[in-house]
Symmetry: C2
Subunit: 338 residues, 2 copies
């Protein structure tokens, strides 16, 4: 069986480029006992992957040079020599960017293909959904009537954060980077206000108008100057969930800015960084509540799906240009097309 792979050829300096990636085709070896042959169906493209392309110490190990990029993938079992899986099963796992791959089954989760569209397991029922739920609920602890600001609001995490906050009775203000996104957040997802940071010259003023009662919870996906503007409006006992810092990921030197400690001190505010796996023990609780809301039609969920394995690098670059509304995915193959 031939597979195509996308390798990390060199580590990006600043914004990633095509030169950092290499396509390769190779023959997969025969399956050994306990191994599975997997066909990739949907491949997730996420901002955190930028961090793994650097060799700086981080919360996940860096990708190795000349080895495949890896991330969230929904795959179909094509052939199995593992008693736990049979051909036709669908699994979710952290898998290489390959059209086909071989796994020993470790770290794979079986998926029910009838529960929801398969791609949802890379989004609202997967890592981004868990990230949104856990960060908002366990760090933000939203209370009815509070004001929640979310940056990167139109992304895979932000869209879910805002909708949960609305379900919890909060005023929700989103920050995103295009008028289409702003429109989507307000008219489709029910955000109370949304601000296009690319066309707003004075973010602090715009936020002051959008948050007349100040900010109680800030769910931060972007960092940098957008966050500085939000900090100036924090209320006493505000909570900040630091989920992502996409504005800083491509920085080539240590980012500096106004110190946040005096504001946290003045407002007795809490700021907490997290990665979704910190809350693994609470995923079942989170998944149940999300699935119930989806079933009841209380959550909207949008995907931005590019077709074809070759689109993966472009999809990844697009993340940093703010091109996606909703969860960004690449569809590599159809399910059950043997």
């Amino acid at each position: 069986m031939k597979t195509r792979s996308i390798l990390l050829k060199s580590r990006p300096q600043g914004m990633p480029t095509e030169d950092n990636f290499e396509f390769k085709e190779e023959e997969l070896p025969d399956l050994q006992q306990d191994e599975l042959l997997l066909r990739s169906l949907y491949v997730s493209v996420d901002p955190y992957m930028r961090g793994r392309m650097s060799d700086a110490k981080s919360y996940v190990a860096p990708y190795k040079l000349n080895e495949p990029i890896a991330g969230g993938v929904v795959a179909e079992v094509v052939e199995s020599r593992n008693g736990r899986y049979k051909a036709g099963d669908v699994v979710l796992g952290n898998l290489p960017w390959q059209t086909y791959s071989i796994s020993e089954g470790k770290g794979l989760s079986p998926l029910d293909p009838h529960l929801a569209p398969l791609s949802y397991h890379l989004g609202i029922l997967g890592m981004p959904g868990m990230t949104a739920y856990c960060g908002l609920m366990y760090i933000g602890e939203p209370k009815e009537g509070e004001t929640v600001v979310v940056s990167g609001a139109a992304g895979a995490v932000g869209t879910v954060v805002g909708q949960i906050a609305k379900l919890k009775g909060c005023r929700v203000v989103g920050i995103a980077g295009s008028d289409d996104k702003i429109d989507y957040l307000k008219s489709e997802l029910g955000f109370d206000e949304a601000i296009n940071y690319k066309t707003t010259s004075n973010m602090r003023e715009a936020l002051t108008t959008a948050c007349p009662g100040g900010v109680d919870i800030y769910f931060d996906n972007v960092g940098g100057e957008i966050s500085d503007a939000v900090y100036s409006l924090l209320n006493k006992f505000a909570r900040i969930a630091v989920c992502g810092q996409i504005a800083l990921y491509n920085a080539t030197s240590l980012p500096t800015g106004p110190r946040v400690e005096p504001i946290l001190l003045k407002m007795s505010a809490l700021m907490k960084g997290f990665i979704v796996s910190d809350y693994a023990a609470r995923f079942p609780e989170a998944a149940t509540e999300l699935a119930n809301w989806l079933k009841a039609g209380k959550l909207q969920y949008e995907e931005h799906i590019l077709e074809g394995f070759d689109q993966l690098p472009q999809a990844f670059f697009g993340l940093f240009r703010g091109e996606n509304t909703g969860k960004l995915l690449v569809k590599v193959a159809d399910y059950n097309t043997n």
Copy 2:
């Protein structure tokens, strides 16, 4: 009855100077029904007062110009027209910097003069002690074997933080500004290591040596570059209690520095600002444990007492020059000397 007062004559720009204060003598009016005449015995001098001298929005209202500075004072009741107090009683309150003052009794707490030296109620059994206990225990949540770093380690709060952390089985590293303080922390208070930031050219290197297992809890009294050095050593799930930012209090423009959010994100770390009154509901629990440790000889407590009402401005300036080891106080009068 004549009283002497110290008024805020002008708001400091940067470091406070004598020009910001004015001494005044005046006659107090006769007591009205429910009023008390109080003689100040001990007056507390604290870094947070610098904030109240500015008119920027903060967690406590700014002092008014041409009115007395106010803060923690232990005072003796000289005369009472209030049924709750009689002459000879001792009270703790937020009172003006005056030799004598008149109070309606609101916000005063009666003190038992036999429980501990009266001045302790401005320190280890008062606001600084509660600050140390609550910040360390409720934000830091120390666990045996963890490493705790405390800045401003030789101050009223820091000395208590470090000792509690030792009682909780932690490795304790203090940061302070003189060799005498370093010596005191290590030989008298049992700190494992202490670093003189004034004579250490590479704080990060010194901290790396002092904290071979990284930093789990950082109790921050100072902010600025000292904190930046500590941040670089944070462990996964580290907790930072932001108690003070004395390095920044006299700043005349918005302090900037390396952004801390990427580190909090990488380490799933928590940073929380607080003011002691946030934890008022837990003071009884805190006071009981502190008093028990004191009684058992498990806590050392040092005071830095200047004698005489006129010393108050100089005492305050000394705070920012790092002159005090232990709780800084001014003794204004002896107890029970009518």
